[in-house]
Symmetry: C2
Amino acid sequence: MSLHGKNQRGQNLRELSAEAIFSLALDGELRALGRLITFIERDSDEAEVISELAHARAGNAHVIGITGAPGSGKSTLTGQLVALLNQKHPRAAVLAVDPSSPLTGGAILGDRVRMEDVASPETFIRSMATRGHQGGLALAVPGVVRVLDAMGYNPIIIETVGVGQVEVDIAGTADTTVVVATPGMGDAVQANKAGLLELADLFVVNKADRPGANDVRRDLDHMLDLSHTTGQDQRTGMRPEIVMTAALTGQGAADMWAAIERHRDAITANGQIDERRASRDLEEVRNRVMAVIERRVDDLLSEHGTTGALKAVRDREMAPSVAAREITNTRFG
Amino acid sequence: MSLHGKNQRGQNLRELSAEAIFSLALDGELRALGRLITFIERDSDEAEVISELAHARAGNAHVIGITGAPGSGKSTLTGQLVALLNQKHPRAAVLAVDPSSPLTGGAILGDRVRMEDVASPETFIRSMATRGHQGGLALAVPGVVRVLDAMGYNPIIIETVGVGQVEVDIAGTADTTVVVATPGMGDAVQANKAGLLELADLFVVNKADRPGANDVRRDLDHMLDLSHTTGQDQRTGMRPEIVMTAALTGQGAADMWAAIERHRDAITANGQIDERRASRDLEEVRNRVMAVIERRVDDLLSEHGTTGALKAVRDREMAPSVAAREITNTRFG
C-alpha cells in the first residue's frame, strides 16, 4: 500500500475501472481485492460487473461455515484450522461475520491478530460487520465469497455467531456447516431451538476437557436420533459426525479437519455439492428480489401511512389482515 | 367441555358461524375462545372475520413481552407475576411462544401446570408453537393478542425464548418489553448481539442470589451508557430500569411488576402507547403483505427454476444479482 493511494505499479485504484481492478486482483494484488470486496459490501454500481466477472470463474472453493454461541470458542477453533491448513492449503480465506456493534470489535480484532500469527502469509482474513441492517450482510456475504472463490482461495471459511436468523442462514449456505457446542447452558437444546440441528453437517463439541462435554455429545446424539430425519441429513443422507475438540490446547483440530474433508468428499461423490451451490445461487436471487420488493412495500406503506386502508386500521374500522389483502391485490396483484 | 363436541348450552361449535362463536366467547365461554384462537393460528377463512370483530373492540390491554435465553427463568418469573396479579388483575392472559420442536414440549407443559396452580381461575394460559415455519408464528401472535384483548384480558403477557429473530420481533411488539438476563455466560453481551438491548424497556437480572448477578447489572448499565441512544430508549426517552429478582424464592417479583407499571404509566402519559400500538398494526400489515409476495416470488422461482435467468445463473453466464434485477423488473415492476 502506498502513501498516495497508489498500488505497487503506481496505479491509482480510484481511477481504474472495476474490470481493471478485477484483473489486478487476479494477479494477486491484495489492495485491488480489498477494493472489490468493498464494492460488494456497499452494493455499489460496480458490484454487478464484479459479480459477473467473479461468477464466471467461481465454483471451485470448498465453502465451510462455522457457527456457535458467543464464547463457544469458534474463533480459536477457526484459527487452529487455519494453522493446520498452513502447509496443505496455504490460500485459505476466513470471513468473520459479526452481527453486532462496535462493542465487540475489540474481541474480534484480538482473534484476527492471533489468527494472522498462525496462518500462512497467503491466507486472506477479513471481518464483515453489519452496517445498519442485517439483511445487507446476508446479501453481501455470498458476493464476497464469490469474489474470493474466483481469486482461487480454497477453502473459504465463514465464521458466524449463531445468534439470530441471519447468521444462521449465512452459516447454512456453506458446502459444509460446522456447529460448535460447549459444555454448560444446555447448548444442545439451544442449538435445536435456533434451528442449528437441521443445519449442521458436523458437530464439534469444543472445550471437551471440561466436565459435561460427554453429556453434550450424548444430548446431540440423542437429538439426532429423535430428529425428523432420524439423524440423517435430508440433503445428503448422511448422519452428522460429532467431533470432540479442546481449542485452547489444539486437541482435536486435526480430527475436525478430517471430518470436514470426509463431508466434502462425500457430497462431491454423490453430487450434492453441485445442488448445494445451485440452491445457494437461487437463494441469493430470491433474497435480492425480496429486498427490492421489501423496499417498495415500505415506500408504499410510508406514503399511505395516514390514508386509505392504513387509516382505517388505525381507526379500528379495518383489521390489519384485511388491509394487507387490499394493498397486496391493488398494488402487487 | 362436553363429550360430544357441544358446549354447555348444547350448541355444537362446529355448526356455528365465526360471528356466533365470537359472541359466545364474549359471554365468557372458554371453548369458544379456544376455537377462535385456533382459527387465527391456522389462518383459516374464518380468521379475517374474527380479526375484524376483535380489532373493533381491542386496544385496551397492556401487552407485556418477556424474553430471555433458555434457562433464564422466564417461565418461573411469568408464573410469579401471574400469582402476584391474582387479586388485582384476575383476568390476565399468558401466551407462551415456543419456537421449537416437540422435544421441549415437556418443559413447557410442566411450567403451565405450575402456572395454573398459582394463577387466578380466570387467567387464560396458552402455549403457541411453530407448526412448520416461524413466519407463521409471527403472523399468528398479534392476531391471538387482538382476540384476547377484545375479550377483556388485561394484561396480556407474551413469553418468548430470546433465540432467533422471530421471537425477538414478537417480544418487541409489546407495549412493555422485559428482557431477562442471568449471571454467567456473558448474557449481557449476548443480549446485545441479539438486538435485545435496543428492545428492552426493562431489564430483569434473575437468579440475583447467585454470584455474578451484580456484574450482570453493572454490564447492562455500562452497555446502556454506551449504547447509541446513550441509554435513553429512542421511543420513550426513558432509560430502561434494571430490576433484580430471584424467581425461585419470589424475591423481586413485586419490584418487577412495579417497574412494569411505571413503564406503562409513563408511555400512557406521553402518548407513546398509542404510537406503539399503531406501529404494531402497521408491522402486521407489512408482514402479511410480505408473506403473500414471498409466496408469489417462490412460486415464480420454482416455475422458472431451470429456464431463463435462473438457468443462466446455473450455467455461470449471469450473476445472481443480474438475474434478480431482471426478474424484479419484468415481474414485479
